[in-house]
Symmetry: C2
Subunit: 346 residues, 2 copies
Amino acid sequence: SRSINLAVIPGDGIGQEVVTEGLKVLSAVLPQDVKLETEEYDFGARRYHATGETLTDADLDALKRHDAILLGAIGDPSVPSGVLERGFLLKLRFAFDHHVNLRPSKLLPGVATPLAGEPQIDFVVVREGTEGPYTGNGGTIRKGTEHEVATEVSVNTAFGVERVVRDAFARAQARPRKKLALIHKNNVLTFAGHLWTNVFNKVAEEFPEVTTEYMHVDAATIYLVTQPERFDVIVTDNLFGDIVTDLAAAVSGGIGVAASGNINPSGDFPSMFEPVHGSAPDIAGQGKADPTATVLSVALLLRHLGYEAEAARIDDAVAADLAERTGKPARSTSEIGDALAVRVAG
Amino acid sequence: SRSINLAVIPGDGIGQEVVTEGLKVLSAVLPQDVKLETEEYDFGARRYHATGETLTDADLDALKRHDAILLGAIGDPSVPSGVLERGFLLKLRFAFDHHVNLRPSKLLPGVATPLAGEPQIDFVVVREGTEGPYTGNGGTIRKGTEHEVATEVSVNTAFGVERVVRDAFARAQARPRKKLALIHKNNVLTFAGHLWTNVFNKVAEEFPEVTTEYMHVDAATIYLVTQPERFDVIVTDNLFGDIVTDLAAAVSGGIGVAASGNINPSGDFPSMFEPVHGSAPDIAGQGKADPTATVLSVALLLRHLGYEAEAARIDDAVAADLAERTGKPARSTSEIGDALAVRVAG
Ligand SMILES: CC(C)[C@H](C(=O)O)[C@@H](O)C(=O)O
Ligand SMILES: CC(C)[C@H](C(=O)O)[C@@H](O)C(=O)O
């Protein structure tokens, strides 16, 4: 019989609330014969304040034994900026080699967008997750003085770029429109830019059916608001991906519905799925958070583990739920979760 | 008697066309007693193909003798990506220490925006122009092999950050709303992020009337499309500034109306003014380019040289012209320039 052994990291702020709903929908959608085991881990601000720890080697060993990880949100104003981001979120992405950071953007019917007109938005960003300016490479001299110099080093390797570019081409090949855009800034960041561009062009030869284009990251932000329908699959660097996926989320319904997967396609380590939004401490504990992004992240998780039919049921349930929201009174976090659980079960 | 000794760099593509109109409006707005001298320089793709040169020491010596520089656009598909950007545009910004890259965004009445509703947009971005990932620092090993490693080094100094942050605070102080937002990514780029944040907080103490906020660059792209009215003055790093100003231009009327100044406030070197748009080779030579962004760049140039009344006349003329465009047939580049010249003279 089949089983899913899931690590659950509720985290900070609204993390606990949205994860509860994500698990509710997961339980509801899974067939009877699939045994779901979950283990909860207490990472984030509370643990950091109590122990000074963010993510230890023992934690990594424990997490490694799971099939996948579901994360709510990590981050709290009581912790200095960077401590939990570098010490937990990025540490986990790097330790488990989550090099494919997958972020779909689809504007579903009935969902509000800040854009005028009725844009058709349905693309997916494949963001590199283990290189670029995210490696923590760099340093500071003469800190706090008027002679301080601080550097940040973006590290890019043919190995790292090629595997994520290849993943993106394969995804583009599998989609009806078969389009792939590379986003970089190769006219200024010429060292990294040439590497990305050359690898992209080389891998393109293996995918003759995929239509490719290149655009600078600054121009890409313009297209994302003026011609978002232009995009099918995007592949990009870690930092550019961070920026364009937040913008992509904003134009396609907001971070309340933006899901993401931090994927290690090799399966050597568990992949991690999380909503794009943060811990939103201002609304935590009030039942106001929209769990939809977490539920959609559960769909990505299921798809990653091979449960395509169940993932599609969740996507459909979310689409139906969103389509009926307009004009209705706002529901609580658990009411939305309940409604989605009913839909996927039914 | 007063005089302006202007270096004019038409450049590539539509550059020549838009600069012609910029100069037309400049001549029309200047009082009789101001002597305008212009000298044209042939930089860009043509010169590069003919001589292999982009910007020589002799060129810099010549340009240095002018009061200011007006640039159309540089860049052509016949030149490999990066050659003219690094060899001309960035070389000039660095050589003349253009550390304040000023990019106002104002959505004028009658101007189309991709955003729904009627957003109120009126802010200015102060982008650092001589540091960050733009220094050309970095390199490549094992180029072209599967073991290639390419790095890009972002260099940030207390000196460089403080002068641009101070400039931004002074601009915020001089505006009615007195708000300043720092945009960075200090939770990931912790070395540079701490430098920027600490310097920002330190300089803030000297400007108690200015309300400040910090936001990550990814979140900033969301606010730029969901709450653009939130912004008054923004200060940011060279690369983040590149990205957010294109997005800002897109939401506030498009790059057809986005002006910029590459300013050296010390006056040791001439400042350079240019439209944010590129050379648009696809429409070059057809009289289709909108010269408005160049004309607004001329206004920034005049304001920089102390001709505030004339700058305001140009801004007003552009606002009036844009307000009357809706529903009218498209005009040619020179027709728009003529109309603006008439307005500023009248
Ligand atoms: C919190 C932060 C480290 C993270 C990132 O920059 O990747 C977040 O913005 C994201 O997009 O997942
Ligand atoms: C052309 C390029 C070098 C330039 C930049 O990145 O600064 C442009 O995008 C800009 O914004 O002026």
